[in-house]
Amino acid sequence: MNPGDAIGLSVMLPLLGALGIALAGRYPNLREAVTLVTAGAVFATVLNLVPTVMAGGRPGLEVFQVLPGLTLAFEVEPLGMLYALVASGLWIPTALYSIGYCRGHGEENQTRFFVCFALAIFAALGIAFARNLFTLFLFYEVLTLSTYPLVTHYGNDEARRAGRTYLGILLTTSVLFLLLAIVWTWQLTGTLEFSPGGILAGRVDGPLVAILLGLYAFGTGKAALMPFHRWLPAAMVAPTPVSALLHAVAIVKAGVFTVLKVIVYVFGIDFLSETEGSVWLMYVASFTLLAASIIALTKDNLKARLAYSTISQLAYIVLGGALATMDGVFGSGMHIAMHAMGKITLFFCAGAIFVATHKKNVSELDGLGRTMPFTISAFFLGSISIIGLPPTGGAWSKWYLALGAAEGHHAVFIAVLMVSSLLSIGYLMPIVGRAFFFPSSEKQPAQSGGLAGFWAGIEEAPLLCVFPLCLTAAGCVLLFFYAPAILELLQTMSLVR
């Protein structure tokens, strides 16, 4: 396939899928088949682009011109390639999982759910392949709006309130700061194209660099930098598959991806390190990183704890970008993939526990390891990856982030990263510990020893829930070994003009 067509196809397929899902709404099995086929086809198409990009190619597709100089156009570069792979690749297990979850849990309005889901993936791919800030902003807002019905899925007062927070913060930041930053950039440079080495060098100086970067960093509300992080915990009222793919992968990664793109292709890391315009951002990111981890420690609701963990992990990626060093950017890029795989596993597990036992709180999980050994083991692997220990992918991204901090002579942030790792041990490991080693609070069925007894004691969620989470848990380990491939992809990125 011609790479240009592959780009168009991979963006359009989820949109067509959404249409197909809407049309097949009356036949649940057909509808689910459409979702799965679309997800598979999208991933295959995206995968098809990898060799070209790896070889240094930058396939592009210009759709049309909206205003003079503002075009709706796509171009695939390594960061976007990676994000697209993550978003489309993880859609497949999530689609399987959603089917199991929605049916196991008897959700209503499933058609709307799956349609909006496909639309969100459409927007995510648009963001991933955007060639300029305008295209990125367009899909950024599509992503916000298409996920609003998912957040408010249950239609009750709690959902309505959460929806207000969600939309309020994401629209406010994007319209007020991000759009202002984009128009300002256009006014300064006359272009919005992402280009190697940035477009702002020499066009702006002094404290304005830091202000403009601030507009971008806070304007990208999806990156959940404090104090604009409240929407993410609020969004947890959504059904768990939404939290898993969207609020751990597609949406939040769209945010940090945007920040990274802006740092690398609009400012340029050389320009930022010369002007030191991003130093303040390192501190804000570090604060978010530590504060969110500490808040996570205090949360008893499992999904809320994971949400704060996500906020903390997103700040790692922003920090890596703000360091404005090559290794920092590589570390951030890798962390997009590593954290995605780890966090989606954790959310899948949280959802599976909810479907099987209707338990939402950490304090209720005592002894669950006996009845749900697969889920809790997967949770363990995902946790290891979030903490950043071998043999999981998370170890590599942390390694490169620390290298980036050293390279930029900001050793203090190495310490921040280490402290945060300790904190994440603090909020994740007790969950696994409780599940495996604490006695269950409920009455136990008589345990007969041996393998037969082990199988008899299992009361897992439906297979369609458990299988995907085992898959992504295995993915966490696999990424440890495939990290060099990701690094190789990222290294083809041209960071200087």
Binding site: F64, V66, F137, L145, G155, L167, V175, L179, L180, V183
Partner: protein, 491 residues
Amino acid sequence: MTEHLPALQTALPLLAAPVCVLLRRAALVRVFAVLVTWSCLAIALSLLQEVLGHGEISYALGGWVAPLGIEYRVDILNAYVLVLVATIASVVIAFPLAGRELRIPKERFFLFYALFLLCLAGLLGITITGDLFNIFVFLEISSLSAYALIGLGRDRRALTAGFSYLVMGTIGGTFILIGIGLVYQMTGTLNIVDLSQRLPPVLGTRTVWMAFAFLVVGTSIKLAAFPLHQWLPNAYTYGPSVVASFLSATATKVAYYVLVRLLFTVFGFAFVFERVQLSALLLPLSLIAMVVGSLAAIYQTNIKRLLAYSSIAQIGYMTLGLSLANLDGLTGGLVHLFNHGLIKGGLFLVVACALSRVESPRIESLRGLGKRMPWTMAAFVVGGLGLIGIPGTVGFVSKWYLVLGALDQGLYFVAFMVLASSLLAVVYVWRVIEVMYFSDEERAPERDDAPLSMLLPTWVLIGATIYFGLDTELTAGVAEQAAAYLLGGAS
């Protein structure tokens, strides 16, 4: 034939209006009015094409050459406005009239169509003519028919709303007439092009300054620019929704056009923005309009009044573009003229659709309509996104130019306010969306959407807000040319 198109543009609807009264039969009149309006659109489009291809058209009415005779003069600016007015009219006229919203019985619907065509003739006349007194004449034709159209609303308060519109409109009209008189006194001409040459030597006189003040205030009343907007909310609230749709998308826009014409062609950039420094007044008022209009919209309980207050805010965007007085700002103002026409016209048609199924225009009565009338309510969502200015809708294009215009002038605060006020739009739009889609009823209501004959015109306008949000050649492209043309004479 084609050289007479400028005359036909106004003569056709003007002559067709009495024919409606003769035809009388509702169905027959409707078909006739639709055909006439669509012909007007065809004429407007061919005029625009002609102007884009071959430059300005000057047409001497009755063969009497200007400055003695009345000249119809079509340049890129008014060709663009003609297209907007004719487009909105063509869509609205096709919308089926609902007896529920009108105080006249079906046998007398022909009166509506006659008034509508008169109003259209007036609006097109104001736009196309190159003669200042002629502008006043057509202004009165359109205004008088507009008062009557508002008064057709079923709610008895429509009569008082129409009456106060009449009072305010007449004051505005009188101011304009006084201004024209003073200008005529100083120059001895009423032709706009002629005026633009004869005025400069006398610009220092107090008479001209007075004329300027009367003309600007008079048009601002017609435009409903803050703080002269008091007539608008009631008129749109109690008038029939189709009338509100038509007037909100055309009448205020044509008044805006007159203001632009006066400022840039008649009085000239140097006088208006350097000697009088109109921006010092207009800019803060525009900002207040944006904020106060949006805040007022947030607190409304009636959907039509909400849209009316939103109009006041949106008119603030348009006058803001004017007061920035640079290429991007003026382009933003002019493109918003078209864009807001599409959005607000479409949204009032959505209300008309909804009122075919529910009794009252109270927001509360829309509860749960998201399930019952999915297509109608989806149209509201899309139109609302346009008001907010989400990328991919026309609202974004306007906002883009306005923010850029503000940044060009170094007015960072203004740029910030444009964006901040669009967040207020999020609040008032989402208030309605929440009511429509979150219902406490357990069982989903039966699907009972408006008929296709209503949905189709609505979606034509709402669809256009998306189309012109992505393909801006006809809107922003032409608006930018018009802005360059207006500023070209100045700098």
